[in-house]
Amino acid sequence: MQQQPYAQPGQHYGGPPAPMVQQQYAAPASVAHEITHGPSFAMLRVDLQPGQVFVAEAGSMVARHHHVGMEVKMNAGRAAGFFAMLKALIIAVLRKFVGGETFFVNHFSAPQPGSVWVAPSLTGQIHHRRLNGESLVLSTGAYVGHVGDVDLKLKFGGLKALLAKEGAFFLVATGHGDLWFNSYGGIHAVDVNGSYIVDNGHLVGYEGNLDFNIRTAGGGLMGMVASGEGLVCEFRGQGRVYIQSRNLSALVQWLTGMMH
């Protein structure tokens, strides 16, 4: 019976060292991280250096080194005023009980190098994106975490978001840093140049400069009922849209049908 050799101090924890993400532009390097077990069961490991703060969706932590500190904060956006804080608190409490994204986030920081592992609840992929000043709009539940100078704001999607069943709120991430988001199923990026149509249940996120509106897939009222395509989002402009290869509402509908 041979005991397997244990890792020596200084050796990397949990797999090979994370490769640095290739940058195509002169920007601060991304924080060391690795996404494993994709596309079905993706997990993210972030390797923190002293001074770095990893902000993650509350409840998503799988593991951390003991010396990595964790602090729960409300996700009200940077330098939020009293009313923004109040709004965030009301939404947070509502969502805590109604379900969905909690709008509480955990801040992880380490006085000495250490790692945090996070994973979403549902099956699917995690995608990394480096933000360089632009904004990315994420649908409900898509946010995983970020490092750097990234501001998160809740955006009321209005009637069209309610209609699109994407939840009444979007999360707008703007700034410079690393952003991770997750999908139900695989993540597929579409570079829109002109216009593009996405089924509302498959929308993960889109670049903030894109414009979108809700409409039927075609064929009028009859087409909406009979085609099974329901409502779609039509994007206009130039930018990237992220789509997930599965639709959570479709799973729930299918399961609901099996229950009776």
Binding site: M1, Q2, Q3, Q4, Y6, A7, Q8, P9, Q11, Y13, G14, G15, T36, H37, S40, F41, A42, M43, A58, G59, S60, M61, V62, A63, R64, H65, H66, H67, M70, V72, K96, G99, T102, F104, N106, W117, A119, S121, L122, T123, L248, L251, V252, L255, T256, M259
Partner: protein, 222 residues
């Protein structure tokens, strides 16, 4: 006993090849297929140990599969989608989260160990099994999602819902995650397991109970 795992990581299936007369003990319901010369015996190991196991979050019975008059094979699977891992027995043994146990070779002694009162009330099923052996042997465990081996060299904190198994060399205690109950509740992290010492920890990349609650909450009541 030789274990080969196919269809990893999402839908893993273990093929256990056995010598004549060599038994394998498997969780009830795990058998997918077997050679016709393999005999199955159901044991609860006595009322008390069966009940203890039930409280451990597993089924009351375990089955022993033994090929007669020649070699044989047994195919085993886990209820949830995910990967499997083979743990080679060491002199220290392993702690195994009760829902992760699939099978063990004959010389391995698997006992229910209490995860403490907090584990009982958390609903997270932090009941653990302790697997020990006097001779080389194997334990087959299954996870929800991928399985990742982490090395604990000092101190680590792991969400209880993501635990699969760990070396018995590690000290562990189950505590709330945050500084206080309110912070724990708001942070959504619930209960965590603090590990201390040197050893390996196997985690699953998805939390079965969290998944069940997330999808379950979207279904109509009744």
């Amino acid at each position: 006993m030789q274990i080969d795992i196919a269809y990893r990581p999402a839908h893993s299936l273990a093929r256990v090849s056995l010598q004549p007369g060599e038994p394998v003990v498997a969780e009830a319901g795990a058998m997918v297929g077997m050679s016709t010369n393999v005999q199955m015996q159901t044991q609860s190991g006595g009322m008390m140990s069966g009940l203890k196991r039930m409280f451990g979050g597993e089924s009351f019975f375990r089955n022993t599969f033994t090929p007669q008059g020649g070699p044989g094979e047994v195919l085993l699977a886990h209820a949830l989608c995910g990967d499997m891992a083979i743990l080679e027995m060491t002199q220290y043994g392993y702690f195994i989260q009760s829902g992760a146990f699939i099978a063990s070779s004959a010389g391995v002694n698997v006992e229910t160990s209490s995860g403490g009162l907090r584990g009982f009330f958390s609903g997270a099923g932090v009941f653990v099994l302790k697997a020990t052996a006097q001779a080389p042997g194997q334990v087959l465990v299954g996870g929800f999602g991928g399985i990742q081996e982490l090395v604990c060299d000092g101190n680590m904190v792991i969400d209880t819902g993501h635990l699969v198994a760990w070396d018995a060399t590690l000290q562990y205690s189950v505590t709330k995650s945050g500084a206080g109950w309110i912070a724990s509740f708001l942070s959504g992290e619930g209960l965590v397991c603090h590990f201390q010492g040197q050893g390996r920890i196997w985690i699953q990349t998805r939390n079965p109970i969290e998944y069940g609650r997330t999808v379950g909450a979207m279904l109509p009541p009744g």
